[in-house]
Symmetry: C2
Subunit: 231 residues, 2 copies
Amino acid sequence: MEDHIVRSFDGELGRLHDQVVRMGAMASHQFAEAIDALEQQDSTRAAAVGPGDDDIDALERAISEQAVRVLALRSPVAVDLRAVITALKMASTVERVGDYAASIARRSMVLNGLPPLPPVRPLLRMARLTQRLLDDALAAYATRDADKAHAVWACDKEIDDQYASLFRQLLTFMMEDPRTIAASSHLLFIAKHVERVGDLSTNIGEMAYYLVTGHPMNGQRPKGNFATGEE
Amino acid sequence: MEDHIVRSFDGELGRLHDQVVRMGAMASHQFAEAIDALEQQDSTRAAAVGPGDDDIDALERAISEQAVRVLALRSPVAVDLRAVITALKMASTVERVGDYAASIARRSMVLNGLPPLPPVRPLLRMARLTQRLLDDALAAYATRDADKAHAVWACDKEIDDQYASLFRQLLTFMMEDPRTIAASSHLLFIAKHVERVGDLSTNIGEMAYYLVTGHPMNGQRPKGNFATGEE
């Protein structure tokens, strides 16, 4: 009988884990779609990102309710308690990735109505790197891989550096051709959103590391110039 | 003996609540300092905001550890479980308010080195309104006042509208005088940070409401144009 209770608890924790993994895959897909829509100037594709974000928000609420239910009914301790708390924090972080993806998609639609467009190549490069970081962080959580989680942590500086360089480029571009100011402003925000997704990926890596090892990552994270502790 | 255990539990929950209230007061103070430093172009004052944010981050970690300890040792249910979960979520949200305050302060220091400065009056007006909303939301949590929490929820649209207007004004300003582009770009981000603090205040109001009533606020929140679900 006790064995049965334990197994059912494993099932609930497993379901919570699976829901978070699914939510992560949805947010990663949303981010990829938003960047593809930006690259291809495809407003139809961008318009599909918003409704997808509602699904992510709904899944976050479901995970939060499920976590509270497990806490109330099972009173987990030790590694199981850590798994529930991490699921709660993961859901909240992944939800913000989804919000940024939706915001990038919305701004890309505004951009499509605002020629002439400033160069987006360096932004796309930065976004692809961020996508890799996000996917690695989510994989580290899904497979409970502390080494992979730690690798994500060290990589965010490259994104911060690319962001700082892009910020300067966009300002120069605006000064040289003031007709691009509206479009460039939206690109500034998109670049910032991408940089924030990089930060959130690092946070996801930290959560995965804590989940597996039971203690926080040590040391100061390497950070770029403008991004220290930045929202 | 059981009475003693119950009272000690009340003490732990009370301490958790007090810590969140203190963290909220710190973040509110940081936000006020950042806005004052911006208004007075006072880089010394702005420079003091960053170290304060480290204290807020440390308090968030302490609250998170305390919450996990209460969950592990006391296995709270019903309203007590809700209080612990809300404390966790509050700490994470208030920490982001602190991050935005630090970012505003950092950017205000950059601004002080970048004349000529675009007009900041409408931004300051928006920031003062946001401060009131933030403080009302924190008070609703501190005093467990569902009516006050609900009032915050309805007020965020005004901030969103002011942000949308300010965004247009700043773009116009940049186009008319391209020498202000660098300064205006930082002001755009500051304005966005303030708008986000408004959103987070609404989230705090929602958490306070849920804590008191046990169910989420009903209905669709009134939102401004550009800010729907935006990060």
